[in-house]
């Protein structure tokens, strides 16, 4: 049953991205940046976790979740290591996704040929 919530909330967030595209003509880089900032802010004000409780993948899969775990890492880093945690926490928490994205992009761009150029 919670898949319905996942679908509705995830779909709604993605639709907000489309609204931005239609009414402001912004590029995909700006959309991603905007949503990452939203995620950081939601986490900073402690709103993310209550939403995540029932939205699950609906808010963790959109790039908002990436921003939120950056902020979450920085916050818990500060709480356990002090100032050093602010430097190390954010990327520590998101390292898995960043490394995966870079590694797979590198491998697949070596293997495959660009479809737009041919």
């Amino acid at each position: 049953m919670y898949y319905l919530w996942v679908f509705l909330i995830g779909g709604f967030i993605c639709m907000l991205g489309q609204v931005l595209i239609i009414y402001t003509n912004i590029t995909s880089a700006r959309i991603l940046v905007t949503f990452v900032i939203i995620g950081v802010l939601l986490q900073a004000f402690g709103i993310f976790d209550p939403i995540s409780e029932f939205a699950r993948a609906g808010i963790n899969v959109p790039i908002i979740g990436f921003g939120a775990s950056l902020a979450k890492g920085a916050i818990s880093g500060v709480q356990s290591k002090g100032l050093l945690g602010a430097f190390t926490g954010g990327l520590e928490a998101t390292a898995g996704g960043i490394v995966a994205a870079i590694f797979f992009a590198f491998v697949f761009s070596l293997i495959f040929k660009s479809k737009t150029k041919s």
């Binding site: 995909s28 609906g58 916050i75 500060v78």
Partner: protein
Amino acid sequence: MDKMMEEKKRNEAYAKYVQAKIPKTKAWPSLFNSFLVGGIICCIGQGINDLILLWFPNMAEQSAWAYTLIVLIFIASFLTGIGVYDKIGKFAGGGSIVPITGFSNSITSPALEFKHEGVIYGICVKMFTIAGPVIVVGVVASFLVGVVYLFI
């Protein structure tokens, strides 16, 4: 004077021509498509997460999410490589950009496109044209949040 008038007229005509040529995204269908595809991608993510927790019941929730995102990133990167993700993107618009799969696509796509400029200057440099700003802004913002939490 005449020449200027003529030029102005020509520019206006050209601007009109360009306006007519710009592909119009019809608002309502594209909103629906982005909702549909975005929702489906999130449901796939939830499915992967549930499967991981089913197979490894002792895994911490946070690790399960990390694996889920890694799997989604892998799928999106692969689909970008074989040229399928771009087709989804044409249909879905924001629905394919906002999920983490869009982040993965934004790294693989330019890497693939500029492959012909070499491994270092093509793949490695161009990889970050879109992901670079995202990571920079995210890191800066989360660092600031961490510093604020240091004082409260």
